[in-house]
């Protein structure tokens, strides 16, 4: 055994990349969970093709998973990678530009045979592993396929099944490289393959073979250690955004004592919420896969009328189809939550890529004056609290609420110091029963301007609601011009009044007053947080605020904005929040806009801060 050196790192960014059939998502997830259990802070970002099985070996078929973990606080999946795992030539070609100078490439040489090189569009006779073009990097080449097959010669499995275990070799090797224990993954495999002992055996063998390869091969002399991160004390788990959304909905349902009804139609990247909730029927969760997007929200309207916590999940194109029904929800003044896990648009756009370009759609995407509360989660774990808040607002104010997430946080993951059920605040619907001698007025309002929730089955409260304009209090059809304007303003005032029941805006980092305020909403949180931290360390006078409530805004937002000389709004769109802020507060906010289907890097935000502070 060679002299092995130990090096301590405070953070590492690894990108696992391979063909979509190479199991890179699983490999990345396993490494992530192991890192989490060791107490590292982390953030992940999967990046996979839209096609289920894009042509093998090609660049469109490359599936990636980026993990940033450290002994320091981690806010983003990271900019440039330290390590790139390339299972084939296409994976290298697609990801090399994301590798930092001097970074490590772990390449599976079998994936660089003439066929794979051709599929990745390398010129004839050129193999990047051999032509010296990777000189600026540390190149580790392993014939993973050969090693895997060698480890399993006596397994009795077919060659196809053997090759499927390749990713375990790489994972084992990385566990060696970063001094990780394998017990978590071993347990995972044992559970996954209980019914297939031969496959389990093969995977365990290859995993260990990868680890031992690192240990015994004389090529590698350095192993790395990343110590646990200083995180607030508590019990943690790892969580993805869509998972957190599903859990938040269940928690809200338990805390308001109403069964959850989910009406949904499958769409990327929102479907996992439907999948997750379908597993939890024991919490009284009713999941209804409707015939289309419109039917999904209409079923939700029916369930809301019936007195349930009703929710629909979708993404931009589906939300567009739901527009008319959302207007009906606003007119009926029934509670419901509409979840948009945003993706690149317009039209079908970039289904598997992230974007924040549906803010205008959320705010204005309905006919008529149709105000709807809008609320956005800032990170995977934050989806839990934010969607819980969306449910509370919907039920307490009898209104549809739009909850915005996006592909980045939906599929990304981070450690979550999860709450205790007892610490979650209960809330309740404004259910009514008949009062003797009083005529029931379905549109009579309380101090929140919210109307009563009289559900079918309640004696003597029979009433009719509908999409035609309502008469104040009685809810009868009314074409009276004065009444129409009154009701339009009433619905607007009702949404505005929600500001009385949400927290004031806080500054996430920095001073209450100063030269530059960076305001973000949604998934830009991590990149802004990291950039502002770095900028402040460099001595710049910059602060950061992240908006959860986008309609209505927190009451003190204007005051905060006026306390800074300049306001910068980074968004993964052409400047939608910036327009709204300019319109509402007459502040000459500056935009930093990226519409590439990719989240901001910390560097991009930092550079803009530096430019503005000069």
């Amino acid at each position: 055994m060679a002299d092995q050196q130990q090096e301590v790192l405070d953070r590492v960014i690894i990108k696992f990349a391979g063909d979509s059939g190479d199991g890179m998502q699983l490999t990345g997830t396993q490494f992530t969970n192991t890192a989490a259990l060791l107490g590292n802070d982390l953030s992940t970002f999967p990046d996979f093709p839209a096609e289920i099985r894009a042509p093998q070996g090609t660049i469109p078929g490359v599936s990636g998973y980026q993990l940033h973990f450290g002994s320091v606080n981690i806010f983003t999946p990271g900019d440039a990678c330290d390590v790139l795992v390339a299972m084939n030539a296409a994976a290298l070609k697609a990801n090399l530009r994301h590798l930092r100078k001097g970074g490590t490439i772990i390449a599976n040489t079998d994936g660089f045979d003439p066929k794979n090189l051709r599929l990745a569009n390398y010129p004839d006779g050129i193999n990047p592993l051999q032509d010296g073009s990777l000189e600026g990097f540390r190149l580790i080449t392993i014939d993973v396929t050969k090693m895997t097959r060698a480890a399993l010669t006596e397994s009795g499995l077919g060659i196809k099944e053997i090759d499927r275990a390749k990713n375990m070799f790489v994972l084992g090797f990385l566990y060696w490289m970063y001094n990780r224990e394998m017990v978590h993954t071993e347990n995972f495999l044992k559970e996954k393959f209980t019914k297939k002992p031969d496959v389990l055996d093969a995977n365990l063998k290859v995993l260990r073979a990868g680890y031992n390869f690192g240990d015994t091969s004389e090529t590698f002399t350095t192993r790395y250690t990343v110590h646990p991160a200083p995180m607030p004390p508590g019990t943690y788990r790892n969580i993805m955004g869509n998972q957190a959304t599903a859990l938040g909905l269940i928690a809200a349902s338990q805390k308001c004592g109403l069964e959850l009804f989910l009406g949904s139609y499958p769409i990327t990247p929102a479907s996992d919420i439907l999948h997750d909730l379908s597993k939890y029927k024991n919490f009284g969760v009713h999941t209804y896969q409707a015939e289309d997007e419109i039917a999904a929200i209409c079923a939700v309207i029916g369930a809301a009328f019936g007195g349930k916590l009703a929710v629909t999940t979708s993404s931009g194109p589906g939300i567009a189809l739901k527009g008319e029904a959302m207007g009906l929800g606003i007119m009926l003044e029934l509670p419901m939550v509409i979840i948009n896990v945003q993706r690149g648009g317009p039209s079908t756009g970039l289904p598997t890529k992230t974007e924040q370009s549906d803010l205008f759609q959320a705010m204005y995407g309905r006919n008529g004056e149709a105000p709807m509360p809008v609320i956005a989660a800032k990170s995977p774990a934050d989806c839990f609290e934010t969607v819980f808040e969306a449910c509370r607002i919907a039920i307490e104010s009898m209104t549809p609420v739009m909850f915005l997430s996006d592909g980045y946080i939906a599929n990304g993951s981070e450690p979550w110091r999860f709450p205790q059920a007892a610490d979650l605040q209960p809330f309740k619907g404004n259910f009514v029963s008949a009062k003797d001698g009083e005529k029931f007025l379905p549109y009579k309002r309380d101090e929140r301007l919210s109307r009563p929730w009289a559900i079918p089955g309640t004696k003597d409260l029979e009433h009719r609601i509908g999409g035609l304009e309502k008469q104040h209090e009685t809810g009868n059809i009314s074409y009276d011009p004065e009444n129409h304007e009154f009701m339009v303003r009433m619905r607007e005032a009702k949404v505005a009044k929600i500001a009385d029941h949400i927290p004031l805006q806080t500054i996430d980092n920095g001073n209450e007053k100063g030269k530059l305020l960076v305001i973000g909403w949604g998934s830009t949180y991590g990149a802004i947080k990291a950039a502002v931290k770095d900028a402040r360390a460099k001595g710049y006078d910059v602060s950061h605020a992240q908006l959860r409530h986008l309609n209505p805004f927190p009451k003190n937002l204007g005051e905060i904005l006026y306390n800074f000389d300049q306001v910068l709004i980074p968004e993964m769109n052409t400047g939608q929040l910036r327009s709204i802020i300019r319109d509402k507060f007459m502040v000459p906010a500056i935009g930093l806009n990226k519409i590439k289907g990719m989240p901001f890097s910390t560097t991009e935000v930092l550079e803009k801060i530096e430019e503005l502070c000069k």
């Binding site: 107490g39 009804f261 024991n282 015939e291 309207i301 029916g302 029979e462 009433h463 009719r464």
Partner: protein
Amino acid sequence: MSAVTNAPESPKFTSKELVTDQEVRWCPGCGDYSILKQVQTVVPELGIPRENIVFVSGIGCSSRFPYYMETYGMHSIHGRAAAIASGLKSVRPELSVWMVSGDGDSLSIGGNHFIHLLRRNFDINLLLFNNEIYGLTKGQYSPTSEEGKITKSTPMGSVDHPFNPIALALGADGTFVARSMDRDPVHLKEMLRRAHGHKGTSFLEIYQNCNVFNDGAFEIFTEKASKKEEAIFVENGKPLVFGQNGEKGIKLDGFKPVIVDIGTDQNSINDLWVHDERDRVKAGILSRFFDRHEEGKPHYPRPFGVFYVEDRTRYEDRFNEQVEQAIAKKAPDLDALLRGRETWVIG
């Protein structure tokens, strides 16, 4: 939670108590008046507490219906009543849910929800008022208008081939498929009772005269002079007989229906096709009695009554059973759910 009162004895309310304080705004002479009256007559007989009844509609003349029923109701958006009613029924199976719709609402803009409602077989009564025209938008052709129809949007005649709603409902695996008409209150009431009695989606097509934009569309089936020749009222277990004096019948020659004179040497009533409302194949043949007097082609009377009935599990039963089974298997534990499988402790 459930605020439903399960009244053990028959609830006491009268037809009059089903009338709301809203002025009925259909055109004078509209067939909808008759349908409203028959529904208000039948519903109190059904033994359902009034607070457990919900009428859901979409958009169109027919869809104003809920405003005139002193029950729970929702007048929703165009074509979507089926989807809304499905959501409501799935979480509140104890409610009696009625859907009121028209040929445009259910067969054009809401066609998708219509077929999916039928295949899922929610216990919902779907009353489809078919007037073969768009009334509310003032007279464009509908998906049930005949080819060549001259309307505001088709001055040279419609080139659309119309739907056969009964055949469509059978094709979507509807479990109760029936037809009636606004001008035959006795038959309509009977069909409403049957529709309610069926445990599953009951599709009742009701020919309804739009006296403003499509007056007389169903005259040959409803007017005394022609009704007996042009309409045939089918009843389970009874032979298919029609004609001024019941002198005609329908015989099946293999799968081919043949019109015969009965009481002659060749044919007696015993030779006729006996209606079996549980026979899907024959219901399909019957649904094709849909021609409009074309030269050189056989002409059949239009059937009214229950075409087809089938017992099939209701969607809402299985939907809620799964939830109950899941709860029985594993009690909900929110803390365990939030904790997940793997956790670690810091500090």
